[in-house]
Symmetry: C2
């Protein structure tokens, strides 16, 4: 039924992830280019820096939480339907954030009791 | 740094999860009672039924996606700080939705490369 990509990006340039204004531009672009469909988006600016961003998608959701002081981004992309747009969004986020290291986990979510995970480094 | 509870509820009464109006009341109550802090919330009504709900929290986020035709709820609670409020929210959601079966997965997320999971049925 769905794919849920859970990823930790580390070694991200803090400038890219400190403020809502900068992050919103990147995420809007990624969502538009990925083929996902945003219903709405919400942002929260932490002070002195750090952002939470959540896109409610017609396919489910995409969320980004940032800790610029650690160069850390916690990313979730959960979509129903075909996997393509979620995987595309993930690749685009890699390009945008250029993390030095990535921990990615993929979970299949559905009503049938199956909840397989596939870990990659 | 954070706890991420990923759960599939099955066998949920479709009446409880078909419409935004009903779900919003339940989720607002759960968030308030759990000790989590909502910054904002967004909802999407699917037709003829089904809801996506996302709460942006000062601790990260809580999301619920429902498929009433299957009695299915896909739940995420991702919080930073102490685990207590997230676990409390999960227990409250169990009480509210009374699922016939639950698949729960807990992931520890942090900047240190550790991403352990703990599965329970």
């Amino acid at each position: 039924m769905g794919i849920h990509i859970i990823a930790e990006f580390r070694g991200v340039d803090p400038q890219k992830i400190s403020r809502v204004e900068a992050l919103r531009v990147v995420l809007d672009r990624v969502v538009a280019k990925s083929g996902l469909h945003a219903v709405s988006s919400s942002f929260h600016q932490f002070e002195p820096h750090g952002v939470s961003a959540i896109y409610l998608l017609s396919e489910s959701h995409l969320s980004v939480h940032t800790w610029p002081e650690y160069g850390y981004v916690a990313l979730d992309i959960f979509t129903c339907g075909s996997d393509g747009p979620a995987l595309k969004a993930f690749e685009l986020l890699l390009e945008e954030f250029q993390p030095k290291s990535v921990k990615k986990r993929i979970i299949r979510r559905n009503i049938f009791g199956e909840n397989r995970s596939q870990d990659t480094l």
